[in-house]
């Protein structure tokens, strides 16, 4: 059984196609990280997988069923989505914000079960002390952790996070990445993240999807297979050296290379 299956999927906004012939399969719960340059369609990919964008052609299946046959509420019970942190006003407390993640499970009343799950998510993100604080008063990093907690309380079997470590300091970048990895292993959840940090992706992801212009998959595989000097030169136009950190490739950036306009 495939948790996620994409075959020759194309997608875009209006007449502009962003993603071209995307194909890959996720067969078992794992931690997958999508990396690639700005504007290559990483967030578009995650939005398409989540049902927010309809593909113009190709196949998307979730648990062996076409994604189009699910209602968005049904998708929400399987896929938890944590969008990139936006500047929208949120005038609720941290706890109220996290409880919103229970929407698809909950009726009108907040039950003790909802509160239990929300508390566990806050504890897991080390922010239980902020429960009664106003969301607007938090730092960007704290807001990010609240958003992740909100994704967790959906109790999804697939958790998709768009740049979950953006805005976080190094401790919390490592904390969140390690947590997601451990979560994926112990609870059999598929974690799907978009990231710009190749070293975090390399250290924690089971598989990396490397995307290149114009919205294509350059390579999919283990960090050892993907994080190579030639791939990084080709996709990012940046020279680097790859060192070995106890079996994990570690990127040491060198210099910017001349690249043609369509690759920039």
């Amino acid at each position: 059984m495939a948790i996620i299956r994409l075959e020759n999927m194309c997608c875009g906004y209006g007449s502009r196609t962003i993603l071209h012939d995307i194909s890959f399969t996720v067969e078992k719960p794992e931690y997958i990280c999508v990396v690639g340059p700005n504007g290559v369609g990483k967030s578009t990919l995650i939005r398409t997988l989540n049902g927010l964008l309809k593909p113009s052609s190709g196949i998307i299946e979730l648990n062996d069923r076409p994604l189009a046959s699910y209602t968005q509420k049904e998708v929400a019970k399987i896929v938890g989505y944590v969008p990139v942190l936006n500047s929208d006003f949120n005038i609720m407390t941290v706890l109220e914000t996290v409880l919103i993640g229970r929407y698809s499970h909950q009726r009108w009343r907040t039950t003790q079960g909802d509160l239990d799950i929300a508390y566990k998510a806050l504890q897991a993100m080390e922010i239980e002390d902020l429960a009664q604080c106003m969301f607007n008063e938090l730092s960007a990093g704290q807001k990010q952790k609240v958003s992740i907690a909100r994704g967790l309380v959906q109790e999804p079997s697939v958790l998709m996070l768009d740049e979950p470590t953006a805005n976080l300091d190094i401790r919390h970048q490592v904390y969140v990445s390690a947590f997601l990895k451990e979560l994926s292993e112990r609870t059999q959840i598929t974690v799907f993240t978009v990231s710009h940090d190749l070293n975090l992706a390399s250290k924690y992801a089971d598989r990396i999807i490397l995307m290149e212009r114009p919205g294509k998959i350059c390579a999919i595989g283990t960090p050892q297979e993907i994080i190579t000097r030639s791939n990084i030169r080709r996709v990012y136009g940046v020279d680097c050296t790859i060192s070995d950190d106890m079996g994990t490739p570690h990127v040491v950036l060198q210099d910017v290379l001349e690249v043609s306009l369509d690759r920039r």
Binding site: V75, Y81, M92, I100, D116, Y119, L152, E182
Partner: protein, 367 residues
């Protein structure tokens, strides 16, 4: 091999047993306090309404006015004059105040939520400018789209007050229902209506101008049961729709993208709310004229007390709006009795300083 801190964090998530801390108990306590606030406001409405029944040239005591009211409801009318004054004259006025207070406060609460704008109120869709234009047309030119004799001005105001929201919804349909698009479309249409109203005012006699002014000042004078029934129909149905949408409004506050991913069509929700709110506001403004500040201030004050969870915020605002408007009417009718100050002036006089005090004293960053 994960570090002990990460293992502990995942343990916390996986663990079935939950040891609650103070913060979570606080949530339960605060839910109780929110319900208490709504109950206190509801009792407040009854008490203020009872006091309002005693105000007027014909003296009727506080408890006796309740007796007269009860007598009418149970069919035991002791004194025809007292019954007429209480039931036909004073009660419709109070009910108009209560319904208008409920409606304006809900409209403001919902508009601030869907437009993510603390300055939004019941009239943010240009309802008042449309109503004002419609009423001016009827008063100045006798133009009347619906042709209902005694209610010509009201019917005209109601019909025209819905034009701005129709334009906003049409623009939203074409360009997407983002808060900014909706606010800008509302402002654009409001200026057009205001300019046209001013143009008409320039060409009419002083007496007509005075009539237009009288209409536009928010007041509860000349209330009738028929008016109460019509307003109640719109306001109470709107209340039900908004209360049923309150959880969706909560989700919307975390951003459109999150809302869509959970299965809420944010554009459709925003357009539905705007339409319902406009109907509510139109039904109020057509009968009472512009009563300012209730729709703006009530949600803010209540948000400081009960928080921003719309499941509680909407009914709490409604109850507080009813108290504030009926109390403002009492003040307007007593401070310079036997003369009266229109309730719209009083609400602004109370609301302005109260709002300022809240801004200075606030402990938490709500907006």
């Amino acid at each position: 091999m994960a570090s002990p801190i990460i293992t502990k964090a995942v343990d916390a998530w996986v663990n079935k047993e939950v040891t609650f801390k103070e913060e979570m108990q606080e949530y339960r306590r605060s839910t109780f306090l929110k319900l208490m606030f709504i109950a206190v406001c509801a009792v407040g409405v009854v008490l203020v309404a009872g006091y309002t029944l005693t105000i007027g040239d014909y003296p009727i005591g506080f408890w006796h006015s309740y007796e007269v009211l009860w007598g009418h409801l149970t069919g035991n009318i002791a004194d025809e004059t007292e019954d007429f004054i209480i039931w036909k004259v004073r009660t419709p006025r109070i009910m108009t105040g209560v319904i208008a207070g409920i409606g304006l406060a809900i409209c403001g609460t919902v508009m601030q939520s869907i437009l993510k704008n603390p300055l939004a109120d019941a009239y943010a869709t240009g309802v008042s400018s449309g109503a004002s234009f419609g009423a001016t047309l009827a008063i100045a030119m006798g133009f009347n789209v619906v042709g209902i004799g005694g209610y010509a001005i009201v019917a005209n105001a109601f019909v025209f007050s819905l034009i701005p929201v129709m334009v906003i919804l049409a623009v939203a349909k074409m360009r997407g229902a983002s808060p900014v698009t909706m606010i800008m479309a509302g402002i654009a249409i409001m200026y057009v209506f205001n300019a046209t109203t001013t143009l008409i005012k320039l060409s009419v006699s002083e007496a007509t101008l005075a009539s237009i002014f009288d209409w536009s000042v928010g007041s509860l004078d000349n209330s009738s049961w028929q008016q109460v029934y019509i307003m109640s129909l719109f306001v109470l149905s709107g209340f039900v729709v908004m209360q049923l949408s309150s959880r969706k409004l909560n989700v919307l506050s975390t951003g459109d993208e999150s809302a869509k991913s959970i299965g809420i069509n944010s554009n459709r929700l925003r357009m539905l709310c705007m339409f319902v709110v406009s109907l509510m506001a139109a039904s109020i403004v057509s009968f009472t004229g512009m009563i300012g500040f209730i729709g703006l201030v009530c949600p803010h004050i209540v948000r400081y007390i009960v928080g921003s969870d719309n499941r509680f915020l909407i009914p709490a605002s409604a109850a507080f709006g009813a108290v504030l408007l009926t109390a403002a009417d009492v003040i307007g009718r007593t401070v310079i009795a036997p003369d009266m100050i229109p309730v719209g002036v009083i609400t602004s006089f109370i609301g302005g300083p109260l709002f300022l005090w809240l801004i200075i004293k606030r402990k938490k960053e709500v907006w």
